[in-house]
Subunit: 391 residues, 2 copies
């Protein structure tokens, strides 16, 4: 038992394919996050292959140091599937109808291999789950976590909330949230950055969900006050979802003219169910000709300023807006790379324009990274410009 | 040392964020696959949090049972970063200029934290690496693996090759490759399926790379003979890359008219560097009006057969082909969901048409899954139709 008599669980992921690096282990992080949410301490994750000796050693070590050992993998019908047999041996149980004697079977709605829960001692439990995530995940959420919440003496629960920001560099977010990032104790805040976007993760430990929510709310309020313009969503909310929500709320329709983003912006927006409520049309005008022919971009603009220019972006945005008859037009032109750079225009240079009824906004960006990273940052910058404009 | 005196390595991933399930552990699978490729045996992966006691225990256990202990994480400047200190303590070394005495620093081209290699005994080495994947991965590929290949006595190497298939259900691939999937010993074949596509992974153990290649080639030849029409690529090759390659090879230009895929097809094709060599234009015609106005789809067609119909798909493909002046036109119309189904047309119903100079091909598909899954399967089915047509 861990601190002050509270229950702890460890995870053993079984499968030689994990040791060969053939698949990424998503099972461990999935189960770990559900344990945290249920208030169950969790200190060890182990991966072993389909090997009798090493698996038995891992299970025995687990039972020694943890109250609950959760295994994934190795429950199938092939010779490589040794989990049931090794657990039975580790717990000194016979096998009865394919399961260790005394094990309680766990239904597997998305697969054929049953899991099981085996109490090996008053305070020691083994929970065996299938390896495939689409089978294991519903079993954890629908059976294992409720079972643990009912039977295990849990301390505090841990709840977290991610605040998602765009448009402010990590160092600046760090400065504005410095005191929060230094918090220790029942509430802490972590900062994660990737490709120009930042996530502030608030974590609270409390005796129950509502108390955790109160602690989180307190910190979230401070963060929102300090960083309001840059916050586009929380937890699973997406930037495209935020833009879509605002478009529907303000009853604005949209059309997109994309060059270097190649359809990515339209794709992100149309991922949102109900996008036909605002998305009228998109054009991917890769060549100079298509910009001129489809969007009425001025040949002279391309000749004098280039297809990658603020002027071209503006004309593309105006052109698609008029053509589609939408409230807003977006124009994106840039150099995604790896080729295409000129002496004055490097890879990552992107111009994004928003055409509205009475004005046109255009911004220049200098992104870095590989082709797909430049496309992604450009599409997301366009979504953010939309979001900011509609707020 | 492991079997017959050959070197083995284990991985310890350090970070409380891993135990909270906040991030997925991609470091372990990345390093594991590179170890396999270098012929270094690998039996254990452990994840621990930012805790002195547990990390020290893990490192000591690792040095006991493995020749090489590779750690990721905990090399930063914050109070949570304890790796360097704990390794020094585990190896009974003083700290000298921020590293354990005697440690050889490892350059980190993408970050500030240096890694290090520490020989703690003639046959025991600790390699400490940063946690962020974009920093750790180049260090592993450019320094760690070459170092290990040079200094460690390795047995057989393991090499693998993935054969990627589309258009044949998993059960049928299973049947055609049954004997290969049953192979045991130096060469084995695994089957992985996801969303209508199948991967056959050939794995060979041999004394060296060329011998492994020979074994792989033997099996690959058999697979290609039996499944040729369905194979679109190997290893990291993508379906869009295969289509792009053929378009460039045959010097054909392309334009896409997408409704339910919303830009995804164009985005996939324009992810390929050099796509401006074949991709002329794309239109996302979400509304019925835009299909009529932009692509000359007949109003009567939409009225009688519906916007989601084989006829509409054909007219969209012909329309975009004529409009863009391309060799090939693609038209996709369907119901991505979750809403939009009618009595006769369910979610997942998609029609894809290819318009060529002298004819138009159209196929009907019935996909299942969430909105993004239907979009993805539809875009990939279109890429496959292109691929098959160009072959």
């Amino acid at each position: 038992m861990s601190r002050r008599g509270w229950v702890n669980a460890e995870i053993i992921c079984i499968g030689t394919e994990l040791l060969l690096g053939h698949i990424v282990n998503t099972n461990a992080s999935f189960i770990a996050s559900r344990l945290a949410g249920a208030g169950i301490d969790h200190y060890y994750q182990t991966t072993v292959g389909d090997n009798h000796k090493r698996l038995e050693a891992a299970i025995k070590k687990g039972l020694q140091r943890s109250d609950i050992v959760i295994t994934t993998g190795g429950l199938g019908p092939t010779v490589d599937d040794i989990t049931t047999e090794v657990i039975a041996r580790s717990a000194a149980r016979k096998l009865s109808r394919g399961k260790p004697e005394g094990a309680k079977p766990l239904k597997n709605p998305f697969g054929t291999a049953l899991g099981f829960i085996l109490k090996v001692a008053p305070e020691k439990t083994i929970i065996a789950l299938p390896g495939p995530p689409r089978e294991m995940q519903p079993m954890v959420e629908n059976y294992v976590i409720p079972y643990l919440k009912k039977t295990a003496k849990v301390a505090k629960i841990i709840k977290s909330r991610s605040i998602k920001l765009i448009g402010l560099p990590e160092a600046s977010v760090n400065n504005k949230a410095r005191d929060l990032l230094r918090l220790a104790g029942a509430v802490t805040v972590g900062i994660y950055a990737r490709l120009g976007e930042v996530e502030l993760k608030i974590m609270a430990k409390a005796d129950g969900e509502s108390r955790a929510d109160i602690k989180i709310k307190k910190i979230e309020t401070i963060i929102r006050k300090r960083l309001k313009p840059y916050i586009y969503g929380v937890d699973d909310e997406t930037l495209e979802g935020a833009a879509a929500k605002l478009l529907l709320k303000r009853k604005k329709t949209l059309a997109c003219a994309e060059s270097c983003t190649g359809g990515l912006l339209s794709n992100l927006l149309t991922d949102i169910p109900g996008s036909s409520g605002f998305f009228l049309e998109g054009i991917i005008c890769y060549s100079d000709e298509s910009k001129v022919n489809e969007l009425n971009v001025n040949k002279e603009t391309i000749r004098k300023k280039g297809a990658v220019s603020a002027e071209a972006a503006k004309e593309m945005a105006v052109g698609i807006r008029l053509r589609a008859g939408s409230h807003i037009g977006v124009g994106i032109t840039g150099i995604a790379g790896p080729s295409g750079a000129t002496k004055t225009k490097p890879v990552g240079l992107v111009f994004i324009a928003l055409a509205l009824k009475n004005r046109v906004i255009v911004r220049q960006f200098n992104f870095s990274g590989l082709r797909k990273e430049v496309k992604s940052q450009a599409a997301r910058a366009a979504l953010n410009m939309l979001r900011c404009e509609l707020l």
